[in-house]
């Protein structure tokens, strides 16, 4: 995108978007339930255990997975550790400022974290090598590099795609009880593969996958993480507006109807391959 990105939308443009929506049209010609083109590429970073680059229209996100051995949390001695981090870097948009993570970075990371955790995307119970002592810590780092709206869904796809293609060193325990990291790498133990679907409320309209301009005029947004069995494994409402109960259910039905198509963009799960 070469045109200047606004942080505040000019009033005439806002009016145009709203009046078009009243006629059932979106600024970029999409239907209300239509995603922009979704592309998922994996294995884009050699030094990462797994990685993915995802684009939804002009929005681009890179996610990488790194694994290291560490001690477990005291309250979950028999489980590995999942750590999701996201950083809205100034490269991605003029609205992102340099500095420590703010509430937007933290919200993005925590919603993705909940979706992954609730659906057991990583089978953390299989990542305890010596329960109480040595477990795998899996870091999922998410970096939007170009922001044209809907970072949530793009980040979710990138995180899950990176995890599905991650390989970690095989670890054996020697006779004297030491951990030995072998050359051989094995896939991460994967449970489910959730997808994140975000719906924006603009006036009376509900539209899926809002682009940046739509985010500037939207009243509120709601994100659903949907697992393979059509369970909702995370919800997050954002924005200054509100939803009626009917709108929440309509948005959920929209999310459920779009989840399979979005999931089809993901690489196969390592457990599906045999």
């Amino acid at each position: 995108m070469s045109e200047r990105v606004h942080t505040v939308i000019p009033a005439p443009r806002r009016e145009a978007i709203l009046s078009m929506l009243k006629r059932g049209e979106r600024v970029d010609g999409r239907r209300a339930d239509e995603y922009r083109e979704v592309r998922v590429e994996t294995g884009v970073v050699g030094n990462a255990e797994g990685s993915a680059r995802v684009s939804i229209g002009h929005t681009k996100v890179i996610a990488g997975v790194k694994a290291s051995l560490g001690s477990p949390f005291p309250d979950t001695p028999d489980k590995g550790i999942q750590i999701v981090y996201a950083e809205l870097i100034p490269m991605a948009s003029p609205i992102f400022e340099p500095g420590p993570p703010d509430e937007n970075d933290v919200e993005l990371a925590r919603v993705i974290d909940r979706g992954l955790r609730s659906s057991s995307t990583i089978k953390l119970e299989e990542l305890a090598l010596v329960p109480g002592k040595h477990v795998w810590r899996i870091y999922i780092d998410i970096y939007p590099i170009d922001h044209d709206g809907n970072l949530m869904d793009a980040s979710g796809l990138a995180a899950v795609a990176a995890l599905l293609t991650s390989k970690i060193p095989k670890v054996s325990i020697s006779s004297n009880g030491n951990l030995v990291m072998e050359e051989e790498r094995v896939p991460l133990p994967i449970g489910d593969a959730p997808v994140f679907v975000t719906i924006a409320k603009i006036g009376d309209a509900l539209v899926v996958d809002p682009c940046y301009e739509e985010e500037l005029v939207m009243d509120a947004r709601i994100t659903f993480a949907i697992d393979k069995e059509d369970n909702v494994c995370a919800i997050q409402k954002g924005g200054r507006g509100s939803f009626s109960a009917d709108e929440v259910v309509k948005a959920l039905d929209l999310a459920l109807s779009l989840a399979p198509e979005l999931r089809s963009k993901l690489p196969p799960s390592p457990s599906d391959s045999h």
Binding site: E107, R110, D230, V232, C233, Q236
Partner: protein
Amino acid sequence: MGGAEGIKLLDEEGRRLDGRALNELRKCRIEAGVLKNANGSAYIELGRNKILVAVYGPREVHPRHEALPDRMLLRCKYSMLPFSVPDRKNPAPSRREVELSKVIREALEPAIFLEEYPRTTVDVYIEVIEADGSTRVASITAASVALADAGIPMRDLVAGVSVGKIEGKLAIDINGIEDQYGEGDMPIAMMPRLGEITLIQADGRFTRDEVVQALQMAREAIAKLYEEQKRALKEKYSRILEEVEGSEVMR
């Protein structure tokens, strides 16, 4: 989420650990106008939760460049006191508190006529004194009373409740143990009179029909909290009235 291997959260009769039915709120008491310095304040006890909210403003925005030309800037800070939880909480803001401050602010904003006070700010300070599950929604319930107490023009109050999933069943207003060992948590806040949802989050696993049912259960519980909110506000003004009448008698 401890899953099935944890504690038994429901007995044979379907009662919860603290004896409540699935659709039963904990005892809730709200008091308005509890702090002298704040423009508005409220205190809520919901079961063992104890939360104080102070509202300052509308006042000048500092730093000035954060002021908005077309509306009030609402700022919100949710924090847990170090001794509010079993293991001491580090007083520095956690990532959880940063996120909750944001979603609580966005749960309150729909109720406030922000455009009536451009270039000003209202600060909402939430301090959790003791925590036992569902603190974010209890904070919202108290914060909207504190905003009303400060005289901020609002469309409606906002009240919130969490719907949890314990042993496969939906339960209203989950406490700390139910949150820790249950299968899911769905905090919901609404403007009760308008029926609009201003906060909804979830973790755990819910089917579509469970989401629909949770919305209905939340609505019923929120109607009860709304009555307590209104009672607290009315009580504050009858207290003032008594004081005024008392001082007239003195004269």
